[in-house]
Amino acid sequence: MKLFKYIIIGFLFGFGMWKLEAVSTFRIIEMFHFQSFHMYGIIISGVIVGMIITQLFKKGKIKTIQGETIKIDDKSRTWWRYILGGIIFGMGWALTGVCSGMMFVLVGSGYTVFIVFIGAALLGTFAYGYFRKALPH
């Protein structure tokens, strides 16, 4: 039952993303054509609220449930992986209009073919792990 609360959190997120149309391929096409503020509004408002919350946690103004100040590791200061990995991810995102969170929401909504999509994403993850040492980071 310790894990049950995370199902609730995921439910909230998945439900919200569906209602916000962030799962819609057409919304992503619209975003990359800069034809509506909608997707940018979702991301920017999420980031602004998220930034305030994260900083409050880091400064210890809000404690975790154990009463501690949270420690979040900084991302490693290398650049190739972020720019190259980012470009590859972005190409997949724009090709499908679906990102790695939304594919779970879409399977649940009844588009069962997204099981294959998740399988392909697992294959991509495995390929990265396999070739990792040969890639610039």
Partner: protein
Amino acid sequence: MKDFLEQAHTFISQPWPWWMGGVIIGLTLFLLLKFNKEFGLSANLRTMCAADGAGEYSDFFQFEWEKQGWNLMVALGAMFGGYVAANYFGGDGLAHVSQATVDTLNQIAGKDLLTTTSVHFVPGQDTTHGVGIPDFWNLYSWGSLFTLRGLIIIVGGGFLIGFGARYAGGCTSGHAISGIANLQLPSLVAVVGFFIGGLIMTWLLLPYILQITI
């Protein structure tokens, strides 16, 4: 009471404004941080690989994946959320994109297939959803999987997302939301990368890929 519930249902079922993104993302982030967890859904792909024994092939998959169960539960919850939203609070089931986007979509298709009142949420069709979607936009269905175009999009796209997310160390939730919210410069670089890749795909490649008829 019944009236109240019906009104609540109608209220929730209408399209949500963009600023609800701040509410939903903020709440998700708050709850996860409260439980000492970092938000990032693509990390689940690494966990699933590791749980299937990928550690034999790469030390990238040798980590304490058993401790990632909570994140799999977030993904499972997101599935339930999608199920309930789509089936019980779907409203008109349309993506309320702008007229400019409808024009762009019709330009890509080369035919006036869509209007602002016929753009479905998902460009796909199954037994319960997307009935009446034009064949050209039927990308996500089992039938589509067995065409070259569908295969490129579903399998090729899924592969790029899985590969790119791990290479970049995060996806839209891990970098664009959590990372930038934590003022991480690498996350901003990754998001710039998302947009470079996204713009190349959208403007230079996608229109041709969608034209494939086999």
